[in-house]
Amino acid sequence: MKDLKRSATAPVRIVASGIVSALGNGKRSNLTALFNDIATVPGRLSLPHFEAPIEVPYQAVLGAPESAEGRMHWLLNQAIGELLAEHPLTLEQRATIPVFIGSSCWGIGIAEEGYRQQYHDNPETAIPLPLDGFSQISRYLQQQFSFHGADFALNTACTATANAILSAAAAIRTGVSDHALVVGLEIRNDTTLAGFHGMQLLAQKNMRPFDRQRDGLVLGEGCGAILLSKCESDNPGVLLQGGASNCDTFSISASNPDGSTIAAVMADALDRSGIAPSDIQAIKAHGTATPLNDVGEAAGMRRAFDNVPPFFSLKAALGHTLGSCGVMETLLVAAALLEGRLPASAGFSEPDPVLGVVPMSQPLAVGPGHYLLNFFGFGGNNSSLIIRYQV
């Protein structure tokens, strides 16, 4: 990396993607499920290793191996496999393409299993966290798919892959590479599930973003991958117009509920993209169905837009896939745009007058234009992406 060229507005396009989630394997299965309102009722997951057994609602991927490492590899195989089938990359390209990875779990599940086994075998010699969790995904991408370029394991909680997308675009815009790979992965693990359970953030049964009866989130697992490439400004498809991220120091576990910092990141994203609020056709909300998130996000949208555009959340369908939600939700929105439609807000049925906004209750026919995607995370990390769909 030398002599970075400055080109903040050079066009960047989503040229290929792949996904596996609780809705199925591949974009087709996921879109079919989203638009047919299939499988919005999560399953239940038991965590048997605690003093008192815990059971949580969970959107699990079907068909994956049970072991954490096997599950991680299987998920990566599905998502990267779909991406490479769409856009084959030569070994020479894979050797140098930078790879931006986002996750909240990383190898923590593998570490849990390793430590638990060691402790069972001999408590005296067991070592907690016996491996380097952050490197597990990159290592598999190198070994299985020959992606040897500079890797960036980003962990900013639920904004990890949204930030990864911004950094990947920056790599292309500064001439580091003509392509960049963004990968997000989340798999079940005790630390995350018990942690959210302990914070009392989980719903009893279903996830209901922006709904009057919402009572918390449902976590989910999955893997998404996007290949971003340098392009011409008039190329058809879905381009990353721009975006922004900020750090809200109001509270470590939630953005300011008055919506000011959420509005600020949206305004910054719009400004950097060179468009006005009125140019936004629709918003993919973060929509986690926690009381504080939805209040803050609704307040932020009302501050940022004179007329709040149609908006929807995907998390009731996918589950909240934490660090990987940025890439998984962005690629699904892009795929839906290419079909000329956006799904209704999953899990919503009853408006909450306190919020002052109501999400889409029906799918929306859409056309070329700009779309905004929000992602907010613990640690006050907020990200907004703006994509442009053009024909």
Partner: protein, 294 residues
Amino acid sequence: MLDIIAIGGQYQTVDPDQGLANLRAAATAACRERFRRIDRFTQMALIGSAQCIDGADVKHDAGLYIGSRFASLGNITKVHEQMICSGVVPKPANFINTLSNSAGYFVARNLGLRHRNLFVSRGDASVVAALQLAAMDIGTGAVSQALVGAVDEAVLPLEHHRFRLGLETGTEVGEGSHWFLVAPEGRADSLASITDMATLVDERALDQWLNQLDPATEYRVSLSPWTQQRMTSSCLQNWPMLKGFDPALAAYPGHAAGALIRYLQSGENSPLIVIAADTDGRFHTVVTWPKAAF
């Protein structure tokens, strides 16, 4: 590429008999408000970052980039010990602190940084990844300055820690919080300039990369104990313009960052090449030219 305009941080070699240094007083002194329930990793980040920017002109839109191999290792191991050995659900504060960007939140709040805030890991080359992210964001104008840190804490017992780091038994272990305030190149007040950062797939690629250096320039080279273990003994011998620099640091993932800081503090004029190996056979390099070298 990037100018370094301020540096700072803390480092300590772990005394196996004394254990880990208590950082509470230093963290309190570094903070503008009282932070409760922060872990040792966050304490280190607060101390190092505050020392770096003391007296520096930090722009309002400066980004924050923290690199680390394990993030809050001490907290995570405690959570896992309680969870896996005793079936205890993590307490909310402890769970939040397992998130790698908790330290970034507290540093941002302490220093008034409310813009781009990233945590990144790439093993012992995490500082390289963090500097690269900062360079790209500065390149696109997302930020006009970046505060870049490499924070790596040691955790007891040391034999467990050595195992995690792949170090031989008895290797002296350190920990550090090393920080750089960087800006676009071309500043008159810079301490040094970073001119190249590279990821090389194997030792052969490293050899080819070294081949493009100016053979008429003397370069100092710093390798961590781990990196020295990963390289063949003859790798650097082909290049007579390379002369070793020993930063007198123990083994720890932040060695590359610590070496860079010590080199800039040494008053040496030659350009420095820091080479950090990862656990997948790759090598990551940073080339830095002290201001006097121009």
